[in-house]
């Protein structure tokens, strides 16, 4: 007989692993990926493959040769960073820019802070924001969606957010919300299909990989805030405007997949809701009154930095705090 193992309790485990969480999110991103392949074709595929490959390679090289440690690329977190970065880029972005974004995301966003679990900012977002500031022209030239698109330099055009920013009421009322739900709209290729992203959200909730708190509080805040801000134009218009705010730009992608990044979001339910509400407010403020048409990335990025503070003040409700009849 082998020697008996003696270890402290518990002696069983839920079986959930870090890798399962990461691959779960990747599975949830599949519907959005398929939609983007349909509308943005080869460009979307190339950008995604490039981002994933370079993120994984950079993480491996940095872990192995700079940190002289055991590479942990198998846990899927570098793949996820690559996919999320890619989804936040235009499909016609030159691939060398994608590689630079990946290097920044992994190298500066993640590894410089000590690797998985220690980064303050969402690495994919760090990469995207770095690119947005460094290559503003390439990063804001959006190809028009076109079914089974094989061309890499197709027609480009305004995104819904550009139209919203211009604030021409007639133009706004004519936007086809149905097309936006499906994904037939301009923008970063992973963010365009609301239905696909919501399907991913349902999967994440079902698999208990994330809870509803962050996405729902972001979406609710953005809706209510933009509704009340435009209420003076009439309820009907305010409703359309608020609705378009939800379905445009990277709002759903950000709310469901970026803001919920474990490492950079708060630890308690209360903290998550506060975090979500603040992201919502900052997003709308930037979108309506800021210089950029899109505020989601910056809002999440800013709140990433506030997360340690939220963790410090928003403690879980302890047992016995309410002592009697609580």
């Amino acid at each position: 007989m082998n020697k008996l193992v003696v270890s402290p309790s518990p002696h069983i485990h839920s079986g959930l692993t870090t890798a399962q969480c990461m691959y779960g999110v990747l599975i949830a991103l599949l519907p959005a990926f398929f939609v983007s392949l349909y509308y943005f074709g080869l460009g979307a595929l190339l950008v995604t493959v490039t981002a994933v490959l370079s993120c994984v390679v950079f993480e491996y090289l940095i872990q192995k040769y700079l940190l002289k440690g055991q590479p942990t690329i198998a846990n899927g977190s570098a793949i996820l960073t690559g996919v999320l970065l890619a989804f936040n880029l235009p499909s016609n972005l030159p691939l060398w820019i994608v590689v630079i974004g990946s290097l920044f995301a992994i190298g500066v966003g993640k590894m410089a802070f000590g690797g998985l679990g220690n980064n303050i900012f969402n690495p994919a977002l760090a990469g995207r924001i770095f690119l947005l500031i460094s290559f503003p022209q390439q990063m804001t030239t959006w190809p028009r969606p076109q079914a089974f698109n094989m061309a890499l330099d197709g027609e480009t055009g305004a995104t819904t957010l550009n139209i919203l920013k211009r604030g021409n009421i007639d133009e706004i009322i004519n936007i086809d919300v149905m097309e936006m739900l499906i994904g037939n709209a301009g923008g970063s290729f992973g963010e365009v299909s609301a239905i696909a992203l919501l399907a991913g959200f349902a999967y994440l909730l079902l698999k208990r990989i994330i809870t509803w708190h962050i996405p729902v509080s972001i979406i609710a805040t953005v809706f209510l805030f933009s509704f009340f801000v435009t209420l003076h134009e009439g309820i009907e218009y305010a409703l359309i405007f608020a609705e378009l705010q939800i379905f445009s730009g990277g709002l759903l992608l950000g709310a469901i997949f970026m803001a919920t990044d474990y490492v950079t979001s708060p630890m308690t339910r209360g903290g998550m809701i506060l975090y979500g509400v603040l992201i919502g407010i900052i997003t709308v403020v930037i979108r309506l009154w800021g210089a950029y048409p899109e505020g989601m990335s910056f809002a999440i990025f800013i709140m990433n930095g506030v997360t340690p503070l939220i963790n410090n003040y928003m403690r879980p409700k302890r047992y016995g705090e309410v002592a009697k009849n609580g």
């Binding site: 007989m1 082998n2 020697k3 008996l4 193992v5 003696v6 270890s7 402290p8 309790s9 518990p10 002696h11 069983i12 485990h13 839920s14 959930l16 692993t17 870090t18 399962q20 969480c21 942990t72 846990n75 977190s77 690797g115 998985l116 679990g117 220690n118 809870t211 474990y262 490492v263 979001s265 708060p266 630890m267 308690t268 339910r269 403690r315 879980p316 409700k317 302890r318 047992y319 016995g320 705090e321 309410v322 002592a323 009697k324 009849n325 609580g326």
Partner: protein, 446 residues
Amino acid sequence: MKTFRIGGVHPSDNKLTAHCPITQAPLPSQAVVLLSQHIGAPAQCIVEKGDQVKVGTLLARANGFVSANIHSPVSGTISKIDNVADASGYNKAAIYINVEGDVWEESIIRNDELIRECQLDSQAIINKIDEMGIVGIGGATFPTKVKLMPPRDMTAEVLIINAVECEPYLTNDHALMLAKPDEILVGISILMKAIHVERAYIGIEVNKPDAIELLQQKVQSYTGIEVVPLQCRYPQGGEKQLIDAILRRQVASGALPISTGAVVQNVATAHAVYEAVQKNKPLIERIVTVTGEQLSQPGNYLSRIGTPISQLIETAGGLPEHTGKIVLGGPMMGRATANIDTPTSKGTSGLLILPEEQSHRHEPSPCIRCAKCVSACPMGLEPYLLSRAVAVDNLEIAEEHHIYDCIECGCCSYSCPAHRPLLDYIRLGKGKVMNIIRNRSTEKKQ
């Protein structure tokens, strides 16, 4: 459906022995009776080597208020008084008895006839429970009489019977409820009389529908007892969690559970109280669930306290070939032992045999701050933070974040996707912090 309000996890039941009736385990050839089978001071041995004892003979007397009498579980000759490694792995004093025949003390009533009426008054009941060495046999082994004598400024309002059995694999309480419902209910009535309460709730998780149905039917002929079905969630059998689940009241940090007006007793303890008060029978045997996927005859074995676990495993079909771990108790809070001669004690509810492939821990990876431990903690603590504070020996942070409230249920380590040994660190830090707090209060007194 009722359940507790903070945290909790839902591991798979694995109640392999749910439908195994109680089986009598054979007598051991030698019984090893520990002097410390309860929380509190070890009992004081009053027998010597060479003494002849019968089943039920007092071997050791309670040493102080928080302590318990210990009786002989077998008849025979005391061969030695020596140390033995108990479930904790530490050597503890024990009385070794060579078993000869099975002769019981004459005072013990050994028939199965149900005695419903109890003429004793509250104090007499408590004295009887004290005399018979009854302790909480759900696992915590707190002397029962202490819980029945609340501090003067507190009064019991309600009795809660813990029949939750939320630990996976264990079915000893379940089997007992199916076999001895009336005895349990009389025991509950006796406990209610002892603490002067009119109401008792029996909390049972819904994975035992047959026990719920049977007891619901039986309680109709008793007054003031109600069965409360509970949603399945671990650690509902924790005293604090059970009070919250049933009464919607919480015990303040550091306070006694009685501060909520509730006295909680395990269902098997209620049965032991019945036997002690109505049948004069000390706590000398108990049901032990011997279980594991690889065992050929897992079951609920009625066995004498002090039986070496090797013998129970033999009874259950022998140790399987690829055994990697033997756990005394359930998989969430039980203790692993490498010594198959470890004797059972009053608190041994189960014996879990895990195969080699389920015995090793995974390599831990970095914390990804997924917050699963925070939502799993039934005490509302932050295990990720506590474990990190202890790892860097920052005990002030650990104390500030209430590490002393940890009930060591294991929900955090269980749910951690990075396989971090959260509870190991917290347990270590909790001990250190408790020490600091104790020293601080003795310094103040001086």
